[in-house]
Symmetry: C2
């Protein structure tokens, strides 16, 4: 069937972004009669759903990262290109990277989303989010440095602020972070300090709606809340954050205004689309939603440009039910694979069947032996949910790369409750804090900066 085009140059597919959407599209096109160029800023695919385990010292960044070249090395029609796309020329059919250009016949844009502060970008300094490896290392640095600072602190009020961890946002990431920090404080590290009792730490999870894990069934949200409380997390729903400053989080609960003194505030509350969406909107006239996501057609192409597709967190895809597809990894994977099939069908003069999202359910882990799983037809909690979560994640990690090590890391952690990756790296300076004077030592000095 491809005879007719055999003497033409092969069809050029350019994919921007090596996340779940872009990578699954590239893999699905790996053995077809097209040339593929995958462009990404980073040289690796990141398994974002496990980033919170890097932030809390269980896994290393490389455990959840797969070099893109290595994942795609068998696809001889595919090349990987490191760089950032900053403009798109839909008339000239090319993407612009600085002063260079890459031509395409078909373009797939899958640049995803980053965390958003709902217009309060000044909060980022005090409440880092979790989207990149560097975010996770910074979060890890903040969490473990807080315990170190508390160990040295003599003023009980300041020590309490160092031992108070506020997580903003009760979605899966917020729940997972809160559970992991509670386990660190109340189990993993409880023998490690001499001047503080880490079990005095407070872990506070804030959610604006009336329950945690809003996308889940209400009974699972309730179960998750109970499990979190059992772990020691203080769950505060119907709570709006109105301000975040250096050490103070200001909340609104109903009519009441509260303040929490906390040195560690972590952001897990919102996402906004990558700026490539806006660029695409300006160049093609396609509509974007309030979060910057691009409105796509039923085949993920954009209005007026059937050779430009948008998949993953950057796309706003309205299902027949009228609700948009959620911004989760399975949606991106399925959309990426679907678009690859649309392209292959078109090249053979055919039309692909309609896209139908297969919702395999939702998972969130709360702590060791504790998770919630909503598969639609069955809902699991506790140990079996946790085991299910574990198996699913190991399966997806192993698919790409030899990440057996992660499974073994978890297996060891299960029995030892240890977290081998709780190292403070990156920014080398310790927090400057008023220092304790409890007898025989009394201080710490800022450290020299290093070139990281």
């Amino acid at each position: 069937m491809v005879d007719a085009v055999e003497n033409q140059p092969p069809h050029q597919v350019v994919i921007v972004g090596g996340g779940f959407g872009g990578l699954y599209a590239a893999k699905a096109l790996g053995r077809s009669n097209v040339n593929v160029t995958l462009i990404d800023k980073r040289n690796f695919h990141l398994f974002q759903p496990l980033l919170y385990q890097v932030a809390t010292g269980t896994l290393s960044p490389a455990d959840i990262s797969s070099p893109l070249r290595s994942v795609l090395s068998k696809s001889k029609n595919t090349q990987v290109l490191l760089g950032e796309v900053n403009d798109i020329d839909p008339q000239g059919q090319k993407v612009i990277m600085g002063d260079k250009e890459v031509s395409y016949d078909t373009l797939i844009v899958a640049t995803g989303a980053k965390h958003s502060y709902f217009g309060k970008d000044e909060w980022e300094e005090f409440a880092p989010g979790l989207k990149t490896v560097e975010d996770a290392i910074e979060m890890r640095r903040k969490i473990f440095s807080a315990f170190e600072a508390a160990e040295k602190e003599s003023d009980p009020l300041v020590r309490r602020a160092w031992l108070t961890f506020v997580i903003v946002g009760g979605g899966p990431t917020g729940v997972e972070l809160a559970g992991a920090i509670a386990e660190l404080a109340y189990h993993t590290m409880k023998e490690d300090f001499r001047n503080i009792d880490t079990s005095e730490a407070q872990v506070i999870l804030l959610e604006g709606l009336d329950r945690v894990l809003p996308p889940f069934a209400p009974e699972l949200s309730a179960q998750a809340e109970v499990s979190l409380q059992k772990l020691g997390v203080s769950v505060q729903t119907k709570t709006l954050v109105t301000n975040i400053e250096d050490d103070i989080v200001t909340l609104k609960q109903g009519e009441e205004i509260k303040q929490i003194a906390a040195k560690t505030v972590l952001w897990a509350a919102g996402v906004k689309a990558s700026p490539v969406g806006k660029v695409l909107g300006e160049r093609t006239g396609v509509e974007c939603d309030r979060a910057g996501r691009v409105m796509v057609e039923p085949d993920f192409s954009i209005k007026g440009y059937e050779n430009i597709f948008v998949v993953g967190d950057l796309a706003n895809y309205t299902q027949e039910s009228g609700r948009p597809l959620p911004g989760v990894a399975p949606v991106a994977m399925q959309a990426g694979e679907y678009v690859a099939s649309v392209i292959k069908h078109r090249l053979q003069g055919q039309t692909a069947p309609q896209f139908r999202y297969v919702d395999h359910g939702s998972l969130a882990v709360i702590g060791q032996n504790s998770a919630v799983v909503d598969l639609g037809f069955i809902k699991l909690t506790g140990f079996f949910a946790w085991l299910f979560w574990l198996i699913v994640h190991v399966y997806f990690l192993i698919e790409f790369d030899n990440k057996l090590v992660v499974a073994i890391q978890w297996f060891c952690n299960y029995f030892t409750r240890n977290r081998g990756a709780r190292i403070i790296t990156g920014r080398e300076s310790l927090p400057s804090v008023p220092i304790a004077n409890n007898g025989h030592y009394s201080g710490v000095k800022n450290r020299q900066p290093v070139n990281v």
Copy 2:
């Protein structure tokens, strides 16, 4: 025997530095009737002999790091203090950390060494060394970014410079780095690129003396050189580096001056003692050698201060043979344990037996299935040497922490020849290079900086 002192406050031992010397001293004092404070700049002990595996993408930093608090959590007489010692008051018996002080009855200084450029500190910018986790991540970034830049480069001369890796220094670290980079280029990544053939990379190992691995027996040096050449490394002995600039390394071989165009130059040539040695010299009048190491007495104390000990790479300990002890991990471990025993003996009014270094031999790994081992009574090369090296390193890693994962990582790598940790993180900007224009793409733009 300790009855006489039972009503006195316990003897305070302060250890500065959580490397092999300091940590082994702390562990040996863990169950004795003294209070121990271990001070380190970092919250983890680093297994430095494997740092080159982080730099070349086999292991993650956390795989070779053990949180100090966790290693010492069972020693209830021991506290860990994060911070940097910047002065010592031997008369007042205290160490100074910024504007704070820690009092001691006995002090053990074990702050080690860092790499040295023999007075040419301006070379550091172009030829990073390998002593810290951050150094290793930076080296990893440099190595993998070089292949990425070569992939985009159209000028064959510039591409050749991107694919030229110069390692300065033929000691164990230099040999291990050269072997690992050769394996990356000629095996691991050979399917990963589309525009370059990574087997065209050049890996050049420079050594000033007449053979690599100078501390080893000459026949093992010869064997190592043969193994390196078999792997594809160009070994150049009797070669002095006279200058390092951005892209050019200048060499002197006999009377001949040569230049190599190389974008990646790695430094594995020399060490100098930590600045704490100089401070100690100024405050106590103790002599330091040219490399800044402190001259110590036969029990590792310093002249005139029998309650101050120096161990590890910071100490210059002259053996009966007249030669100083080498700067390797086993020396530091044994010295740390010995000093702990001196302290325990003294507190019981006894004298410890004399220190005798037990030399278990030297090891260096060249590549998969290839190492050299010199145990004195037996010399191994090839596969059995490699297996021996592997077992020794797994043994020491597991001793501290549950680093079984490293063994499994290596086991998997052995069969897959993959290197899962070859991710480019940290500084987020890609090198600015003249860009190829080979048909359908042509460029890359510098990326946005991130807060790491």
